[in-house]
Symmetry: C2
Amino acid sequence: MINVGIIGFGTVGTGTAKILLENNDVIEEKTGLQVNLQVIADLDIKRDRGVKIPDGVLTREVSDVIDNPDIHVVVELIGGIQPAKDFILRALSNGKHVVTANKALIATEGKEIFAEAEKNSVSVGLEAAVAGGIPIIKVLKEGLVANRILSIYGIINGTSNYILTKMTDDGIDFSDALKEAQSLGYAEADPTLDVEGLDTAHKLAIISSLAFGIPLSYDRIHIEGITKLTLQDIEFAGELGYKIKLLAIAKSVNGEVELRVHPTMIPENYLISRVDGVLNAVYVMGDAVGETLYYGRGAGDMPTGSAVVSDIVDIAGEIENRGISSHGIEFIGKRSDLKIKAIGDIESMYYFRFTALDRPGVLSRVSGILGEYNIGIAAVIQKGRRAGAAVPLVVLTHKARERDVQKALQEIDRLDVVADRTAFIRVEGEETEGLND
Amino acid sequence: MINVGIIGFGTVGTGTAKILLENNDVIEEKTGLQVNLQVIADLDIKRDRGVKIPDGVLTREVSDVIDNPDIHVVVELIGGIQPAKDFILRALSNGKHVVTANKALIATEGKEIFAEAEKNSVSVGLEAAVAGGIPIIKVLKEGLVANRILSIYGIINGTSNYILTKMTDDGIDFSDALKEAQSLGYAEADPTLDVEGLDTAHKLAIISSLAFGIPLSYDRIHIEGITKLTLQDIEFAGELGYKIKLLAIAKSVNGEVELRVHPTMIPENYLISRVDGVLNAVYVMGDAVGETLYYGRGAGDMPTGSAVVSDIVDIAGEIENRGISSHGIEFIGKRSDLKIKAIGDIESMYYFRFTALDRPGVLSRVSGILGEYNIGIAAVIQKGRRAGAAVPLVVLTHKARERDVQKALQEIDRLDVVADRTAFIRVEGEETEGLND
């Protein structure tokens, strides 16, 4: 019998408790393991969460969980950095295994937490921290263990994906889509973490360290959110055969790693382009397995609870078999020799929307500057001519170096025929035949 | 150091050997485990497989693997029932763990193999037996361990999916698409196992037993292949907004399980409808996690080798930690109380293509018979009128009972206005508003 204590009886805590109480029978049938929900600590133990908790399980004292000698596994579900970090460190130093859904904490303070776990020969379960119910941590640590991971592309923030889907499908702008997401409970009152890409970057830090063995590198990730995306760009993308998604991207190329979070144009016939609404998906390319994709709900009480409980069961199995394998976690930081690329050093295809005055010679001046910086043009859209007025001029490029792109755009934005700052979006996918090669 | 012996140096054996030799470093970095490819047995040890095998590893004697006291894990990759079964049983009785990609053997003789493994306290790894590189076995056993599985829909035969994709996208008929698949090496000279749905059913037997705890039930699966599908039906399906895929379907409803393999119409906006070519995907619905989908290559040397090696590494971890958890395998057969439905008892939506003579009153006679059997009509397509000649009359139904459908079709096919046997395809997806409710 493995005794579990939960800290935090919010959304995910409730889902986890429900699963431990209601699916206990099937878990035991599947694994032979008995997992007992012994205690749940929360400041509010009165509110009805729609789940019947047995008498004596609820407590207001966190020490009833983390200092309780009967508890084997501490589940941290309060989120945020403090006091979550102190609770976890204390639980680990008490020799307890820890399961957490706290991506912000792991992404930024994971090193200290893993060191404390190692010191005490206990496990830290992270499945719920990335992509909710999708078992992507297990896939990276175990399912694809035979592979050198080449690249990862993730839609791992349901809020942003919901907003982008609304903008794309219903033609409503960012702020209206955000309001709708908030009214449905998909976005918080302060949506910064989600729409500015920070939550996506927290998760990317975790999966990239598991995939490539680099140290947790949240502060090295180039992060752009979706707040500046316009309907116009979404429509032009559609016309060019692309969807715009907020992607977490990690690639390993020649001993260097790219880590970035930004709105990305993806060919609309790619499977990941079809991942809409609050759903998440992670595309993983391994050297042996080739392309794989994992899809499901990235948030919510029960999907995230499913991930929490899978970690609890794994740890229960390890305890019962008296063999702790931190299988995969020890990979993190082993490849600190891998250099993380600065954003200026990456190569990508690009979408530009120039706000050009409709005068003769504009296209030649713009394309001339692009040419000087070795930026090849793959497609151009120019429409809605109004002599002398500002019209959008859309250019899709071949692969170019980001540093050159930034310089070219600075130069172009200084032209007297360019009326506003140029919008640009990075583009993933196969290169197409172009105009000038 | 864990010593591995492979039996069968064919496609998957070669991929497995490559991975064990070339990715050994990254596997050790990830897990701390040393996995040593000690011996490969095959009748042909001369042919160049494009991988450099160290001296002394190749042997023509299978006993160098299964009776070798140094070998911890025996990997069976020869396929077929015999002698694979005897080799596996002998390896197990020698106390060796076994990893196999042999779906036909596990689906039909798994009970005996699992019993022998249990008797000797060793593991049997099956990841490579279903969906190649997609870690679907691990997902079912571990990642979704917290869930009662509600349903599974799988595209798990790349050959059939390639043929259907060709028929759909290029408008070529079954036999031409099959020839193309054969010329590309995607289909065997005798394609029966693939195109008649038997291979899909082997895999369905394995995943349904892991998902629901039923005994391996290959002989209870209703199986229809893709050989009778016509371009006409694929086109009508497209017109109605559906794709046709060969699906493995397992559903648990009220203590009863449906197990079936047949061409299925799926709404074209479902993610699984976009899984084309030789790619595989498995959709799994769990009571906690909701809908999830796993996508990747279902065959080939390296993808399948990736799965084989993930099993080897899992077992190596168990050996090193001196704790063997057959985690999930023991679930198989525990729920032998679950009744497997006869095909006549299932409920589904249906597509019918009647070959009707274009005479007044045909639709009324056909729909009258459908009405008598409580089969509601959701959509009708009738085109290409040629008075007195046979024309297709296409009907999409609401949910109806298969037994009623079979009876209604028998009656309809006896009508003097019906010139040929009615084509019918089962339809999955949401019910749509209909004509007669």
